[in-house]
Amino acid sequence: MSYANAVLQGVFLGAFYAVLACGLSLMFGVMRIINLAHGDIAVLGAYVTFAIVDRTGASPFVAFLAALPVMIALGYVLQLTILERALRSGLLVPLLATFGLSIVIQNLLLLVFSPDVRALGASTGGLNTASLSLFSGGITIPALGVTLLAVALVVFGALHLFLSRTRAGWRMRATAEDPDAAELIGIDSRAVYAWATAIAVGIAALGGLFLAIRSVFDPVSGPVQLIFAFEAVVIGGMGSLWGTLLGGIALGVAQTLGAQVNPEYAVLAGHVLFLAVLTVRFGRVQLLPARVRR
């Protein structure tokens, strides 16, 4: 029963990773940008929400609704100012630019908010601790986990509907496939890119909100979140939206199962799954030398 419970908790944890990874996947899918500042942007979103909660005493969810437009605008401007220039100079430059951005965000957060560890869980009115026990405690269903799973399904579902059912979504997919051809049918590819980044940053901020609720965060929490998000994207298949949701859940389940064996193995199990997927997909492992196989 405890393994079944571990799998269940893994699904909830994976939903969190999927939300974190969603924007990373979107930006890679549309612009082929691997945003190394993605984790720091999520943490920035957490801090903006935290600042509002700290000043007004509002619920983190209400505060997030106020922080969201700020983050979306920030994403839009980020694309038009930094990423667009970087993209024009080839594939490597956006990687360097976002790496630099990551350092800038971390240091700005250190300056403004100090290195103190923060958390928002306590202001959620018990959502982060409430749970339901089943089978005399063998299975626990945490309220936060259920919320996260619901949020993940809504986010991925909404993004899927946007991309497959709306004209703006078709135009975004068209631009992702061939930006030059998209221009020739009247699509302003700069604006599409800016909106893609805006949406990605908005969803990253949502990931940051849940990071702040389910655990603690500080100005340098970003890179670890980036690694988990990146692993979710790669496990699910680069640029595939539903793949990212499944990848996040697979990562979460791997981590909780690893922890079930030994708490020290949690993160390691996730990395092992990530490496296994990488090896199978890109490595074409040759278990035996070519001569023997023939």
């Binding site: 997919r173 061939d178 051809a181 302003d188």
Partner: protein
Amino acid sequence: MSLLQVESLDCRHGLLQAVRGVSFEIAAGETLALIGANGAGKTTLLRAIAGAHRPLAGTVRFDGADVTGLPPHSRVSRGLALVPEGRRLFAGLTVDENLRAATIPGRKGRWNVGAVLDVFPFLKPRLHSPAGTLSGGEQQAVAIGRALMSNPRLLLLDEVSLGLAPVAVDSMYRSLEKVIGEGATVLLVEQDLTRALEVADRVACMLEGRIVLSGDAKTLDRQTVIEAYFGLKRATAEGSAG
């Protein structure tokens, strides 16, 4: 007044000068065929008119306004659409999505998905298939339909018969003649001289980046065109610009 005016346009690909001082005009309702051998600069000229290639010098005026500095999407919203060489469909989008993504809210006109299907009825059963799974002829029809969806005032067609089976080319041109017959203004690049002379009102022949011959499709002597096409004689029937 002419719908499109190109004045002494120069375009380069790195060190190679693909278009050299090209000037011509197209009147509204006219069909101009641009012919010439591979590498004569036809595609580059079309791409420069559509805004996909930044010219080194010269101007492109559309409907009286200088559009030389505008990005391609702004030219589309003014009514200038290019069917690019190689079709450039969005392979992962369905035919329907390819067409509907190309609508421009501000431009009203007769073209919508239904009107495109009337011109290319063979696309009907493929409407919800990914564009990447279509045959070459079907893809070319989608590419033309996609350009029409913006209700263009000037349609640029770059080698629409390239890589198609002869039967597909025939049906393509039958459909195009319907569109042209309705009074559309068209600038088309075509390798096939006979077809170009059939479809167009006027023919311009490019050689090594210049327009070396231009004239009325009905009266132009075939032999003169062939000589200009291959550069056998630097023939100029009516001067270098029409």
